[in-house]
Symmetry: C2
Subunit: 106 residues, 2 copies
């Protein structure tokens, strides 16, 4: 089951808008200082670069992703996650329905 809510968080009211709105997220800080974001990617194929390592948890919808250095696209559905190393990149492909995610920064 995906994580459906976070309690006791600080949320930034201004969103992060990437790729002309194809990806929109809001930044969260948990009570213990952990940073996360919750967002949506609309149907598109996009490339993201990482600073810190991150885990992308799918909350609803689905995506295909391709990690840097890999030639194999993999599928990720609701309740599933994939990890991306620090200072790397990945492509994400969303078809049909919006992909809802939590980005967990490591």
């Amino acid at each position: 089951m995906p994580t459906t809510q976070f309690d006791g968080v600080t949320v930034q009211t201004q969103a992060n808008v990437y790729f002309e709105g194809k990806c929109i997220s809001h930044s969260l800080t948990l009570a213990d200082g952990t940073k996360k974001s919750v967002g949506v990617i609309l149907p598109a194929t996009l490339t993201f670069n990482t600073g810190a390592a991150e885990v992308m948890e799918c909350v609803a919808g689905a995506c295909d992703y391709l990690l840097a250095g890999s030639s194999a696209w993999r599928h990720c559905a609701a309740g599933e996650s994939f990890a991306v190393p620090a200072h790397s990149s990945f492509q994400i492909r969303v078809s049909d329905q919006p992909y809802h995610y939590i980005c967990h920064f490591e």
Copy 2:
């Protein structure tokens, strides 16, 4: 100054996606039970219906809005708000830059 963050809230991780992604919001519940949402509207002209009365606070960007029964479009910029009665509707027009908002439910 617009409200830049909320502390101690519960955030729903799955977003609300309206108008094929032209409007995306996340629902919040404050510690006192108050419900709000934080969202973005991309350039478009959209019509929304209200259930409860609400106040739309602009966090960044700007919009023009037209309340039901009015013939006058009005402008709302960052740090400004407008109120919409319950069981009513309004049009919102966003040009150029994304409009970031907090919807305060009354």
